[in-house]
Every structure is written in C-alpha cells, then in structure tokens.
Symmetry: C2
Amino acid sequence: MPCGEREVNPVSETFPKHSESARPTMIDVAKRAGVGLGTVSRVVNGGAGVRDETASRVRAAIDELGFQRNEVARALRPGKKSSSLALVLGDLTNPFYATIAKSSLEVAGQDGFAVVLGSVDEDPEGERRAIQELIGRQVAGLMIVPDQGDHSFLASAGIPVVFVDRPAHGIEADIVMVDNEGGGKLATDHLLQQGHVRIAILLAPSYYTTGRRLRGYRRACRAAGIEVDESLVVQLPEGTAEAAEKATRELMHRPDPPTALFASTNFLTEGVLRALREVDAEPAVVGFDDFRLADMLPTPVTVVASDIAELGRIAARLLLDRAAKTDTRPPQRIVLPCQLIQRGSGERPA
Amino acid sequence: MPCGEREVNPVSETFPKHSESARPTMIDVAKRAGVGLGTVSRVVNGGAGVRDETASRVRAAIDELGFQRNEVARALRPGKKSSSLALVLGDLTNPFYATIAKSSLEVAGQDGFAVVLGSVDEDPEGERRAIQELIGRQVAGLMIVPDQGDHSFLASAGIPVVFVDRPAHGIEADIVMVDNEGGGKLATDHLLQQGHVRIAILLAPSYYTTGRRLRGYRRACRAAGIEVDESLVVQLPEGTAEAAEKATRELMHRPDPPTALFASTNFLTEGVLRALREVDAEPAVVGFDDFRLADMLPTPVTVVASDIAELGRIAARLLLDRAAKTDTRPPQRIVLPCQLIQRGSGERPA
DNA sequence: CTCCTGGACGGTAACGTTTCCAAAGTTTAC
DNA sequence: GTAAACTTTGGAAACGTTACCGTCCAGGAG
C-alpha cells in the first residue's frame, strides 16, 4: 500500500528563479575589455597571437560578465561540427546498453564532447527518424547500435559513423563488437564438456548477434560430432525475459527435455532461471553476457562475458578520432574476445 | 580464458563511405522550387499562409534534395532554444539512473526533443562544469539529479531547471522526488511489526535522500517507543555495495548484532546480502528501491519501492511545459509515494 | 632616416535559419 | 469600377561565432 498520495506543493523558499536576462556575448566581452571582437575569439580559443596583457584583460571581462561561449553559434560555422556525439541505442534499462552509454559518455566527456541520446523506438522507421533528427543537430559523429534494416542513408550524412555491437547493411563504416560466434562456441563447448548432448539454445528474434551465437553453437556441436536437434533451437518471438520463461517452461515439460540450456542474452537468461524455479529437473545453464547479481542467485550463473564497457570506450574513441580526422584508416572491424565465467549453473553434469 | 585475442580487421565490403558533400540548405530548396527563402521556411514550419500548390512544390523539392533543417542554425535565432533537453545524472550503470534516463528520453522524444547527457564526474565542480557546458549548447531546459553544493549559478542560466530525486540549494526550481521519509518509515514500521527492536540502517554518504530516509527510520522508532541505538546507524564512507558489505560484516560480528537491517539504496542492499551469505544469523532485510532479480535471490528481497520511471516522465513533462511556457505556475514540488513490496527477507521474525 | 617585416589587433563577411516588412496579387465591399 | 482588406510571396536583417583581411605599430635592417 502506498505510504501517501502523490503530493504537489509549490516550493516555499524564495530563491532567485531563473531569469530571462540575455546571456552576455563575445561582443559584450569585447566592449567591456575595450578590445575587438576577433581578439576575444582568439582568447577564448586558446589565445594564440594575443599579448598576455590583453589576454588577461579579456579573461577578466569574461569572468566579470560570466560569459560562456555559445556552442550553437560556433557550430554554425562551416566545417565546424558541434562538439557532441550522438548515441542511438535500445532500452537503457538493459544493463548492456546502459554500460555502453556510460563508458562512451566518459570517453566523450574527456574530450569535451557531450553525448546526445536519440529516443529510440523499436521499429526501424523510428530509428531512422531519430537518426535524421540527430544529424540535423549537427553532431560530430554517430554511434549506433543498429536495428536490422538498411542504413545506407547514413552515407549521405557527411559525418562519421561507428556501429556498436552489430554491423549494419548498406554502408561501410567502423564497427566494434564482441566475438559472438566465439562466445557461442565457448558456451556450448563448456556444456559439451560436462557431458551434455541435448543442449537447447534460446534466441532473441532477428538480431545479428543471435545468428552468430547460434553459429558458434552449431560449430561446437559439429566439432563434438553431435547432430543438432532442431527442436532445441528456440527462436523466441521477443527478446524479453517473459518470452524466454514461457519457452523454457515448454521445453522442460517435453517428454525429452534438454539437459542444458544456453540463453543467448542476459534477459533471456533471467527468463530461463525464472522458469526453472518451478521445475524439478536441474538442467545446466549458461548465459551470454554477465549481469549484476548473477553470482548471488540460488545457483550462481555461469556466463560467457565480454568487456562491454570497453566496447563503448573503443567506439567513442574511434568516433572522436574519425571526427577529428586524426584517424583516416579504412573502416575498422574491431572484435572483442569473450570469456567464460564459471559460477556453478553451467557445471552441472548431464 | 579468452576465446580469442581482440581482432582488428579492415571491413571488406565496399559500400559508400560517408561523403563530405555539403547537405542542401533552404536556399537550395528555394531555388529548386522556384520560390523565396521565406516561403520554404514557412512550409517547413507547418505551412501556414502558403498556398497548397506552392507548398507541395516546396515539399517536392525538399524530398528530391533530401533537405533536412539545420537545427543548429534554427537554435541560433534569439528566443529559440534548441529542441533538446539536458540530463545530468550519475552512474548510468545504476538502474535507478538508467530508468530515469530511459523514461525522460521517451517523453522528450514524443515532443521531438533530444536529450543531451552531460558526462558527470562525482565531484561538485565537475558537475558544475558539465552543466555550464550543456547551457552553452543552448538546451531548452535542464534536468538535474543534483550533487550536494550550491546550484545558485543556475539562476542566471536563463533556462528552466527541474531537479530530480533531490532538491538543490540556492535556487527556486521545480523538484520531482519520492517520499523518502515516508518510505523510510514504511520500511522501519514493517520491521518493527515483525517484532524487531535492534534494526540497523545503512546510509550512503551525504545524499539528501539518505537524511530523509533516516528521518523516517527515527520517526518510526520513536512512534514505536524504541530508542535508537546510534551504533546501528551506519554512515558508510561510500555508496557502494562493497562498503555496505564490509559494514554489514562488521555489524553482524558484533556481540550484539542487529536482528534486522534497512539498506537505504539498491547498491547497499546488494552489499548487505553479499555479507549475509557468510553469516549464520539470518536477520530481516528491507531495501530501499526495487531492483531486478530481487525476487530471484535465495531469500527474495523485501523492498520499499516507488515508480522511478514515473519520476523521469514527470520531470521531463514538467520541463517541456516550462520550456514551452505552457506551464507558468510557481515552482512545484512533486512527491511520489512509496510502497512496500513483501518478498520474504523483510518478514523474518525477530 | 627610411623601408620593410612581422606581430597584434579591429572589422567584416559568412554560416542557415526565422522573422519582419513590404510588395504583389486576389478577393470583398461599396 | 474602385477602394479596401486580406492572402501570398520575396527579400533582408539578425542571431553569435569564426576566419580572413587589412591596418597599425614596433623594431630591425639598410
């Protein structure tokens, strides 16, 4: 029960409200310091070619007036892009995306860049619109965790693009991702080693990553000389925990349930574990992507993990270098390794 | 062990790279459509006062050229702020912040606003710098989860500000928060009802919210006629799970350990639970703020929760209305209720 | 003493949009 | 048939910055 209704009160203290007073411009500073506009600009941009005495007079004026450069006007000049990057990704509530956002934000911030988050619907058309919006804001570069669909419209945007976690079709651009196929193989190999033969794999719909992880799974099975039972390859209608829970329940109620499950995303892993609570059998479980509290669950969860924060950092760094034209190499494809973290759930024998 | 070193390969496909070709401007559109510049602007902005026939000719030209309005130039005009909001908050890896980011992003997106995330260091000076940066980008409004310290410098920013989760000093602005004191009382009351008398409370350092939650705790104790043992009020040096874990371990190894713990943030709850794994005693635990998998832990975790997504939505809505001058009420103080979610850990008897 | 060189500085155009004003065209009213 | 009112349109100014081009002054070389 609620501990109170929503309250709405005017705040009582009487502090200055935000004033509409115009903020000072370089012209104001110039007048105040008794110098020309160009000189102020030079001081603000590093002060090369300005006498120390003049420069400090200008700086004094800046402090007195509380002047701050108008980034919008600055970005209007041709060639000058705004000092911000755009980041387009899915549900921030997913720790995977949140981690990318956080780490790329850090790197961008170090270079004085802000990060603009476009709101992302799930449909490709929404993504496209969001991206166009962002481009209109003259960002210096785009980091995109792309949805499926054609992204060739990005080629005409005139700004560098880095794809994160998955490649996109129709454009040649940098891509930073994890070794999905290797990770899928790693997880499956591990389960095979425990003697499992009937290993189910749960897949979120139509992501690129999904296909690669499945490929790793198949490769591991083939290498072990095991033929894949296609009824154990479960394509979910949604990438949610709920969908995985339902599918797992169905799997485990079959006459010939799998003895092990490979959940190909963190949310799917959660769903699998939820379903298994209500089931007598204790199949082995390996998840893809680590998640908070994985080690605290009744049976600590074995996962295949990679350094997601690094994913974001590399992407941001690469994009900044592209934007600054420091990096003029051909488009790169950077693949981060995965590693297996054994915690218990994946070590149950067949 | 890693399933492979980091690979770096040039991408092989040969798609168009991003071209540096200048994007078309309204002037190009005007020429193409054989109309004046002003007419194009009118069409782009809704088309009021333009003949249908002319408007469609302009729209045709826009489509042909792939014109997209330059938001930067637009924002340069006086009075016109850019159609973006700034969001300043802490660690996105904390689901609490991530949820706020997600929900405010959604609301802003509905109104065609982008959200700029300032990178936030933990120190107040870093926060101030980040905010100044954002203001320089001419955002239409600021949403801030404020650090302690004086925020009066915001009064001269000339844009509306909404504080989220905690108020700030030195400025009269809207604030959207949860009923921390009520939640603290709710949690403590619940533990008292189970017969607990020695209830420890763990507090993250110096947050505003911390103080209110403690106040609710004290109020509940006083109402129950119990004198608070001040050695059970634990001020942590850091708001991390690790700090809470260490403190809990120390608490439980005392000769007179508490029979219940109230962890005042989600990370602290995690730390508490980690420590309790290695302890024989099974004290009751209530956490503040719900978290993913709370119901999946060996003992499902009882929490006091509020609708964090709603927090973000309300803040964004309010800010948008302020920015549009649709809402000219005096600064509001909106307080969302908390509710108790009983899952087991909080129902252990004394 | 004059000329030249170079650093310091001031002024102005330009970026792409919105807004305002005036001109042109069209309808309505008398 | 003419004047008035209104609608549609074109053009120019302005937003705040940067980049470029001159000008000015000091100092060194001839």
